[in-house]
């Protein structure tokens, strides 16, 4: 599925970062690119939820609705050569990396045309082509893995950094502390991003630690850190860019806490009774797509018609993605025995 707007590289953007008088800091293509990415993810997730309720998608489904600005900012603030690894709430990250919505939807349907041949499902998209090291289902497991991906970049002496993403809940795993320590000790090119959406399942951040400003954990390891409003794609882009520059300058790891919110329950089975309606409403008023839409229209970066064109194109794209997923075949049962070992004649026990 082709992109509606050609993706811009971060290098071009940096030239236009000086704020002009009307608060427009980036090129029109950049704003519309963000808008398109966010719409694509939002519409993809809404359709996935609908397909889940029709039993087309099974197992766990953790959607990214509310957090899209982070994925959008990643398309401009780091390069496509920078590897990314994240947790199971990962459709948006896979999509922002360039996986097609058709391949992603087919994966959710468990079809052999899916991004990972129907083997991974909702929690596990992976793509070497897109430098996407996957969605991980074990909370916190990707923190050392991302550190190791960065180790390989350091080892090969590339210019790349590894974006290692995790939730507020994951920030309480021991794996974070061990990773932070070693990343600092060895000065690895790793950008840790905590997507703080306020909750780990039913547990609010306040109930998991006395350190509620999660980015402050960086201090314990002498790691540079910062928090940013993740509902505002411009601020999020700038913060990630600043962190990436720091790392690329050889100044070491960086810990960015991006404050965001998930609108839906933890997964489809969670009624989210642990939070108030008012809280949800408050965040929906600061919806990242609305904020950007307002900005684009108020500053006359693009017209309402132009935004409408993007929305329409996305709608068509997602319809086609669903159709593609529906019409694709399930993988044959015999593929259960593929992708377990690279050794082709591996002697499985089959009794």
């Amino acid at each position: 599925m082709s992109q509606v707007i050609e993706k811009k590289t971060s290098k071009k953007d940096s030239s236009s970062e000086a704020t002009s008088s009307n608060g427009v800091s980036f090129s029109k293509e950049t704003y519309l690119g963000w808008y398109e990415t966010m719409q694509r993810i939002r519409k993809f997730e809404e359709r996935a939820l609908m397909m889940y309720s029709q039993n087309k998608i099974r197992g766990f489904l953790h959607v990214y609705i509310g957090q899209e600005a982070i994925a959008a900012a990643l398309t401009t603030a780091v390069t496509s050569d920078d590897p990314i690894v994240t947790a199971y709430r990962q459709h948006g990250i896979g999509i922002c990396r360039g996986l097609s919505t058709a391949a992603c939807m087919a994966e959710l349907f468990g079809k052999k045309t899916g991004a990972n041949k129907g083997k991974g499902g909702s929690m596990h998209f992976f793509s070497k082509e897109h430098n996407y090291f996957g969605g991980n289902g074990i909370v916190g497991a990707q923190i050392p893995i991302g550190t190791g991906i960065a180790y390989a970049e350091y080892y090969r002496e590339t210019k790349n950094l590894c974006v290692t993403m995790f939730g507020d809940g994951a920030a309480r795993q021991g794996s974070l502390h061990e990773s932070f320590n070693m990343a600092m000790l060895w000065n690895l090119p790793v950008l840790y991003i905590c997507e703080n959406n306020g909750y780990a399942m039913g547990t609010s951040v306040q109930r998991t630690s006395n350190v509620v400003d999660i980015h402050m954990i960086g201090d314990a390891y002498g790691m540079k850190h910062k928090a940013v409003d993740g509902m505002d794609v411009e601020k999020t882009h700038l913060a990630i860019k600043e962190a990436a520059d720091h790392i690329r300058d050889g100044k070491g790891p960086y810990f960015l806490e991006i404050k965001t919110y998930r609108y839906r329950g933890h997964s489809v089975s969670d009624p989210a009774k642990y939070r108030t309606k008012e809280e949800l409403t408050k965040y929906k008023e600061r919806d990242p797509i609305l904020i950007l839409e307002d900005k684009i229209l108020d500053a006359k970066i693009a017209s309402e018609d132009e935004l409408k064109d993007i929305q329409d194109a996305i709608k068509t794209e997602i319809n086609e993605a669903v159709k593609f997923a529906e019409e694709s075949e399930y993988p044959p049962a015999s593929d259960l025995y593929t992708d377990n070992y690279l050794q082709e004649d591996y002697p499985f026990i089959r009794d």
Partner: protein
């Protein structure tokens, strides 16, 4: 008096009664208190016992399992809930290197009366990391006892025994079967650790299983009966220590055995049983023991894989006919 309870409520009742009986018993784990349990097994316990005895933890399995071990060594009786046993992998250090070894390495100075519990096994299309069984992993370790149940009455009786047991116990439940109903005795009801249960008497073949595979074996046995094959069905309930005697006794009667076990085949519960039976009941065997396991692979997401991977009644029937030398 017995009444119908779900597996979930039977486990809940066991914890409630033991917490009422012994104030050293407390429950700790992710989402166990305010959310009433990820699968609602601990519903109402926070209200009844308060936040000191029903404790929500951050996501930190290695840490809170170890806190359980220390508390057990220092006079308490923790129940540590893992949201699923897949996440207990992070805590293996504390379970295997510590809980299991406290008594031995302290030469009896310290014991570790703790229960680690949570669901094990596949639960639909949850993919590789969320679909594993852990009975043979844990049962491989001296110092641990391992229970794996699906029947609600057993769940109550064995969890109560586990909480009272002075040694560390791993209790394995089933996410998909938490809603399974059964008759459960009210009040004091203990099922001894280490005793299998004969669920169905039969003389033609012995089918051994445990946890949710019991629900696969049951319809298979009924189907076989229609064809005139009477299967004796044994629910192991406890994996370690294994009730070899009940198995040998059954084999003496039926002379044939099929083990149905959701674990992977290599070095699993099924291999242990097959070894022990050829050793202790060789003269009674009319056919090699056959086992039915999950496939020797990781479990990917698509439904075709789940179907291929797991034992089902048709596969059980085929295995039974194999040991009976009946050509299907």
């Amino acid at each position: 008096m017995a009444r119908e309870l779900t597996l979930r409520d039977a486990l809940n009742e066991a914890m409630r009664e033991e917490m009422q009986r012994d104030d050293r018993v407390f429950l700790m784990g992710e989402e166990v208190a305010e959310y009433n349990g990820a699968y609602k097994v601990s519903r109402g316990l926070l209200d009844e016992f308060g936040p000191k005895r029903v404790v929500d933890t951050p996501i930190a399995e290695l840490g809170f399992a170890g806190i359980g071990v220390g508390a057990a060594m220092n006079g308490l009786r923790p129940i540590i809930e893992f949201m699923t046993w897949n996440f207990a992998v992070l805590a293996f250090d504390q379970i295997v290197n510590n809980a299991a070894k406290t008594l031995s390495q302290s030469a009896g100075e310290f014991s570790c009366p703790i229960v680690f519990r949570g669901p094990t096994g596949s639960a639909g299309q949850l993919a590789q990391q969320h679909s594993q069984t852990f009975e043979s992993w844990m049962a491989n370790t001296p110092g641990l006892k391992v229970i794996s149940i699906v029947d609600p009455a057993d769940a109550k009786g064995l969890l109560k025994s586990a909480i009272r047991d002075d040694d560390p116990v791993c209790m394995m439940e089933s996410e998909q079967m938490y809603g399974l109903k059964g008759e459960v005795p009210e009040g004091e009801y203990l099922v001894p650790i280490g005793k299998a249960a004969i669920r169905r008497e039969g003389s033609d073949v012995t089918i051994v299983s445990f946890n949710k595979m019991m629900e696969v074996v049951k319809p298979a046995a009924e189907e076989l009966a229609k064809e005139g094959i009477e299967a004796e069905v044994i629910d192991l309930r406890t994996i370690r220590p294994l009730d070899y005697q009940t198995l040998v006794n059954s084999l003496k009667k039926t002379n044939r055995m099929v083990v149905v076990d959701e674990s992977w085949p290599f070095a699993g519960v099924s291999s242990e049983i097959a070894y022990a039976m050829q050793k202790y009941a060789f003269d009674y065997l009319d056919a090699p023991i056959t086992r039915l396991n999950a496939a020797d692979t990781s479990l990917p997401y698509a439904p075709t894989f789940v179907e291929e991977y797991l034992p089902n009644p048709e596969k059980v029937i085929r295995a039974v006919k194999e040991v009976m030398y009946i050509n299907a």
